[in-house]
């Protein structure tokens, strides 16, 4: 899908070969599981749901499940779900939808065909040498600017979460208000879609049962941006994040959130992240069967709670990783085992027609070859396997504990390579170039042929960070390695690049909404 926006700045830095703002790519089709293996997993997951069941600590959900024919033990809050109900949910849940930022026209289509690069989340800022510090509100803005400037990052995450990134003078405000103010700041800086799904970090208010209100407040804010719920449903700005806690549990607050998004007909992430060896079995197939059982539970819940007039679509997710037996740390998403399990999830999700979000990263603490290799191998593998939404661009450490601005620009380059690889090879009479080869003949050169001039820009990806110069040239330019060049790139972006400001009218509507909530909270 081609983004119509043309930014001179981005053009200057980005590859002139790949069209600036090329959003997303075609998902790959390499398979880790055959159809018959997927059917075995389907059987295993349904058997888990029938025999063992899932803990669902929410009365409304339990009621819905019982009414739909599941076996419910209200005292144990345990539900055993029949395969027929699972199949009904699979059949009736919408499988693709649009997802957009402040400008609905620049939305991306989430489906099994496309593949997008998405920034991760991390509470700390990590320097290139691996030193760690708390993030500030300024870091958050900086991260948005870098993300917006990186042409191969399709969706921004919450760059730096946590209380540290709240400005001092906002610390006294209720969490919901702080959250929404951060959201507003994001919209100030980001034209791309922003994945806010993991911002519901709980605190006292949510403990008191206000997670529902918090979700409603966010949805109301998005309605203020789009103008109406109908417009928001057409182009949602956020997804409910409905993760199961492995093994086989849901959390009360996640269920609350699920209900709110479902009632509004808004899309949801559903899935889980069993850690191989710890919260999931040691085998890849076992990790997958557990993940699938948990994911199908989320699907059934979303379907039953869903607004029948506007069924909430689902994007499946898997954030599993290896729990390393040697170091007792996890999840190691960059481990080969993490990579294949997440990639195999694409085979499973696509089998049912759903798209899938994966999560790839490296447990390396610094920006070193390990971080590069693991991110590269992981991302390319999962893109080739057809994962549709790749979280964790720009994060460092096991389970994305830190954000590195330099890694964002390095991963942006990696994503550029991958986008080019996945664009594949165009074979036509013209590209086969038989006539051209005949014209040039033995011993000639193609360098100045018009065919070359016409095609090289389309065919070649031009790295803007990775170095291909001659040795002497590289020495003359200061012998800088990729990490040093990334540091410079970040500085350039922060010096020169400012995103388009948010539309004044929309900004006012959002501000009014946040003020209204502040008042409401001051009263209670």
């Amino acid at each position: 899908m081609i983004n119509s926006g043309f930014k001179p700045w981005i053009y200057w830095y980005s590859s002139p070969g790949v069209k600036s703002g090329e959003v997303g790519i075609k998902a790959g089709s390499y398979r880790f599981l055959s159809d018959s293996q997927v059917k075995d997993l389907d059987y295993a997951a349904k058997e888990i749901l029938r025999r063992t069941g899932v803990k669902i600590p929410n009365e409304i959900c339990l009621g819905l499940l019982e009414k739909a024919g599941a076996t419910v033990d209200f005292k144990e809050q345990r539900v055993r779900i029949p395969a027929s109900l699972v199949d009904e949910a699979i059949k009736n849940t919408p499988k693709s939808f649009m997802f957009g930022g402040r400008d609905a026209k620049k939305a991306i289509k989430i489906d099994t065909e496309h593949s997008y690069f998405v920034h991760g989340i991390g509470p700390y800022m990590i320097a290139t040498d691996g030193s760690v510090r708390n993030s500030t509100a300024r870091d958050m803005q900086d991260a948005y600017r870098v993300l917006e400037a990186c042409e191969n990052v399709d969706v921004a995450g919450i760059p730096v979460g946590g209380t540290a990134s709240t400005p001092e003078d906002e610390m006294h405000l209720p969490l919901t208000v702080r959250r929404l103010r951060k959201y507003l700041m994001m919209l100030d800086f980001m034209e791309k879609p922003v994945d806010t799904s993991r911002t519901y970090v709980i605190d006292k208010e949510d403990e008191a049962g206000d997670i529902r209100q918090a979700a409603l407040d966010q949805i109301q804010m998005e309605i203020a941006v789009r103008g109406s719920l109908e417009e928001l449903q057409k182009t949602p700005m956020s997804l409910g994040f409905n993760e199961a806690v492995s093994p086989l549990m849901y959390l009360p607050r996640n269920l609350e959130k699920l209900l709110v998004y479902a009632e509004h007909g808004l899309p949801m992430f559903i899935g889980s992240g069993p850690m191989t060896n710890a919260t999931g079995p040691a085998t890849m197939a076992g990790t997958l069967s557990l993940w699938l059982a948990e994911t199908l539970t989320g699907l059934v819940l979303g379907y039953l709670a869903g607004n029948p007039d506007y069924r909430p679509p689902a994007l499946w997710m898997c954030f599993t990783g290896l729990f390393d037996q040697l170091t007792a740390h996890g999840p190691i998403m960059g481990a080969p085992e993490g990579v294949i399990v997440q990639s195999a999830c694409a085979d499973i999700a696509h089998f049912y027609g759903f798209s899938i979000r994966g999560c790839i990263g490296s447990p390396s603490k610094a920006l070193d070859p390990q971080a590069g290799y693991e991110t590269g191998v992981g991302l390319l593998t999962s893109v080739m396997a057809g994962v549709n939404y790749h979280v964790s661009i720009g994060t460092v450490g096991p389970g994305e504990v830190g954000v590195s601005l330099e890694k964002i620009v390095l991963d942006n380059e990696l994503a550029g390579y991958i986008k080019r690889i996945m664009r594949g090879i165009e074979v036509t009479e013209e590209t086969l170039a038989v006539d051209v080869i005949d014209e040039v003949g033995p011993g000639g050169t193609f360098l100045i042929h018009p065919h070359t001039r016409k095609w090289f820009r389309k065919e070649q990806y031009f790295p803007s960070l990775f170095d291909r110069r001659k040795y002497e040239d590289w020495v003359r330019r200061g012998k800088k390695n990729a990490v040093q060049r990334a540091e410079e790139r970040v500085q350039e972006i922060l010096r020169d690049y400012w995103p388009e400001p948010l539309d004044k009218g929309i900004r006012k509507r959002i501000e009014d909404h946040v003020k209204m909530i502040e008042k409401r909270m001051a009263k209670s």
Binding site: T163, D203, L251, M275, N277, Q325, G330, V401
Partner: protein, 216 residues
């Protein structure tokens, strides 16, 4: 079976994780009237060695934890016997631990618990999402030497400070050492929250708890 032989067998059972053997061996030692405290020492020395093996990368986590389970089978029997004889179990100290309110992260804390138990501490694990009051009540009631707090999310990490203040308000702060931990926690958090120290992982937790109680 001679006492020395039995202790050696038990030591080997724990080191190799022969879970079917450790319980019956402990029962046998009770039957034969051997001093349960002495028998227990065989188990703790085995656990120390497997702990070191894990630390040095010679064995894997599952194996380490399985050795712990194997030890537990025997420990339960021996502890019962020690109590029956009205003697005190020679624990290194008592630790109350839990994950703070609003936080349900469990895995790291459970590892810490397993390592502390293996080291020879008496550990009372309160579980996850534990309110400040529950922590205070348990400190008052159980009089532990150490209170361990786990939190993994930056917002729930603010609870460390709240709990330390609540301990002060309840006049309990000088009666218990406080150690904090979690994926994002560092020494700075220990300082700002008023905790005594922090543990970066389960092995570090054991080292720090030992140090807090002047055991080295």
């Amino acid at each position: 079976m001679k006492k020395e032989e039995l202790i050696k067998k038990l030591y080997e059972a724990v080191k190799d994780g022969f879970i079917e053997e450790s319980g019956p061996l402990a029962e046998k030692s009770v039957e034969l009237g051997y001093d349960p405290i002495e028998v227990m020492q065989g188990i703790t020395s085995a656990l120390k060695e497997v702990g070191a093996d894990f630390n040095d990368g010679r064995i894997f986590l599952t194996e380490l934890m399985f050795c712990g389970e194997t030890a537990k089978e025997a420990m339960n029997i021996l502890t019962k016997e020690i109590k029956r004889q009205k003697k005190t179990v020679p624990y290194l100290g008592r630790v109350v631990i839990g994950t703070v309110a609003g936080d349900i992260h469990d895995i790291g804390k459970s590892l810490v618990v397993a390592m502390l138990v293996a080291e020879g501490f008496e550990v009372i694990d309160l579980g996850i999402d534990i309110s400040d009051e529950t922590f205070i009540d348990n400190v008052r009631l159980l009089k532990p030497n150490v209170l361990g707090l786990s939190a993994l999310v930056t917002t729930t990490m603010l609870k460390f400070r709240d709990i330390v203040v609540a301990l002060e308000d309840a006049d309990l702060r000088d009666k218990v050492k406080v150690i904090i931990g979690g994926a994002l926690v560092n020494m700075e958090h220990a300082e700002t929250s008023g905790a005594d120290t922090f543990g970066s992982d389960a092995i570090d937790a054991v080292i720090k708890v030992r140090a807090l109680l002047d055991l080295d």
